[in-house]
């Protein structure tokens, strides 16, 4: 590993900004967040970066490193030997300062998803196989990297039409819960806009938790919408089956 590494970090706020270079000594096993902390302690005490656990548990430290969405605390600097490490804030959300962006839109949407509506009082009798699917989605750390990379939000800024992959797997988790009695299919087709997703899978690729957002979450949701709106025959068969 080289003695010295070069980071080019976005410095700026709502009105704009640009990258600034810092040269710092690398240490064994250093992650990009460590490098930023070094810069804070030595060169720029006011460098803004959001972080919390430094253990890839909380999903605070999302940013773009050399063009890819990453958790700063999980990305090693020695993945970029011989390169300048460009660190930029998430593109899809308005920047507050430096690497910190305003992600409040996501919380607004999380709030709008109709909550769990239990069919019975706890304790529930549930087998592990009943909850495996849901637990995959509940592993989400709300880093919003998937929201950031989703081209519907990122390129088309269609935030009023589509709620994004994080919200989709939250809805999927509820729809697949054996004890949930809610029905969010109209919401999916309408306000939440699952139809805007064209299953190009960038969310799945970026997810630091390895959640198979598209195949296990969004596609099954699209099929549920198809059940209700695009398959009267299938609907009839299922009705008779019940």
């Amino acid at each position: 590993m080289p003695e010295e590494i070069t980071l080019s970090v976005f410095r700026g706020d709502r009105s704009g900004g640009q990258e600034q270079e810092y040269k710092i000594p690398a240490t064994t096993g250093m992650v990009v967040l460590d490098a930023l902390h070094y810069i804070q302690a030595h060169d720029a005490p006011d460098l803004a970066v959001r972080w919390n656990c430094k253990a890839a548990h909380c999903g605070s430290c999302s940013a773009e490193i050399n063009g890819s969405g990453k958790l700063l605390c999980k990305t090693r600097v020695d993945d970029y030997v011989g390169e300048v490490i460009h660190v930029r804030p998430m593109h899809t959300f308005p920047v507050i300062k430096d690497l910190v962006t305003d992600v409040s839109w996501n919380y607004e949407k999380l709030r709008q998803i109709p909550a769990f509506q239990p069919a019975a009082k706890a304790p529930f009798t549930l087998q592990q196989r009943d909850v495996d699917r849901i637990q995959e989605f509940r592993d989400c750390i709300e880093c919003f990297l998937c929201q950031n990379v989703c081209h519907v939000l990122r390129e088309h800024n269609a935030k009023d039409a589509y709620w994004g992959p994080r919200m989709m797997i939250r809805i999927a988790e509820l729809e697949m819960h054996p004890f949930d009695t809610g029905d969010r299919i109209d919401l999916l087709k309408g306000a939440a806009g699952v139809g805007y997703c064209n299953i190009t899978k960038c969310c799945t690729v970026v997810c630091p938790q390895g959640i198979n957002i598209t195949d296990n979450g969004i596609i099954p949701l699209k099929e549920r919408v198809a059940d209700k709106y695009f398959d009267p025959l299938g609907g009839l068969v299922r009705k008779m089956h019940k």
């Binding site: 890819s68 805007y196 064209n198 099929e223």
Partner: protein, 247 residues
């Protein structure tokens, strides 16, 4: 949707990685396949070589309906594939640059409606094409069996093997379909019976889910196998090569 982009920070294209290779390869492969299919439709009238039948021309029976022979059924697999969740990804990326690759700025920014309006809202009908494709698949199985029945009885030729492999791959492709995965069990909310044992639908769903992870692979391989089967039979028809019989 026409909000102004709120962000000021810009974004940086990926450094180093050749992210454009994949979409171009997709365009090339699907484009060539499309051109080849059109050529078949307009310039070829048959796919029959003795007991071998090209999948493009199956079934041969058209019950009196008069269309170009290759067009008679071709639209079914075509629409089946065009609405396939896997191909959709490849097509949107390769042909529409929506997006070309992850985090890459798109060439067209306005008017994105995804699959909420014409034409792509049609993709919601994927399961219908799946039903139809199943019918076609049955004919292809019959063809594959016929490929083992020579005038002098049962036999195995290179063509029989090719046709069998082809129909196997097509079956694998069809039964790893996401819509099928949903219909077979994914759509149910509960996977266990009252006594805690797994439901049949769970067992089926679980198996399909395992193979579904390889759906993209089957999509490509089965497309090439269809192509290859036709090329092989066509070369036989033209007499460029000669049939091989093993026994």
């Amino acid at each position: 949707m026409a909000q102004p982009a709120e962000t000021v920070q810009g974004s940086k294209p990926k450094s180093g990685s050749a992210w454009w290779v994949e979409p171009y390869l997709t365009v090339l492969a699907l484009g060539l396949f499309g051109v080849y299919s059109l050529w078949l439709v307009f310039f070829q009238h048959t796919g029959q070589f003795h007991n071998y039948l090209s999948p493009f021309f199956s079934p041969t029976e058209s019950w009196g309906i008069k269309v170009l022979p290759a067009l008679w059924v071709l639209w079914v697999p075509l629409l089946f594939r065009a609405t396939c969740y896997y191909y959709r990804k490849e097509i949107y990326r390769g042909f529409f640059h929506d997006p070309m690759a992850c985090g890459i700025p798109e060439s067209r920014r306005k008017f994105y409606f995804g699959e909420t309006r014409f034409p792509f809202i049609w993709t919601n009908l994927h399961r219908w094409f799946w039903y139809l494709a199943l019918i076609v698949l049955i004919f292809l199985w019959i063809d594959a069996i016929k490929a083992f029945i020579f005038p002098n009885g049962f036999g195995v030729g290179l063509g029989s093997i090719i046709m069998l492999v082809n129909v196997l791959l097509l079956t694998a492709y069809s039964f790893t379909c996401h819509a099928f995965r949903h219909l077979i069990g994914g759509g149910s909310q509960k996977f266990s019976c009252a006594d805690g044992s797994p439901t049949t639908r769970y067992k089926l769903w679980n198996k399909v889910s395992y193979w579904n992870e390889r759906h993209g692979l089957f999509a490509w391989v089965s497309m090439f196998s269809v192509w290859f089967t036709d090329v092989y039979i066509r070369l036989l028809i033209y007499g460029v090569i000669h049939p091989v019989r093993f026994f």
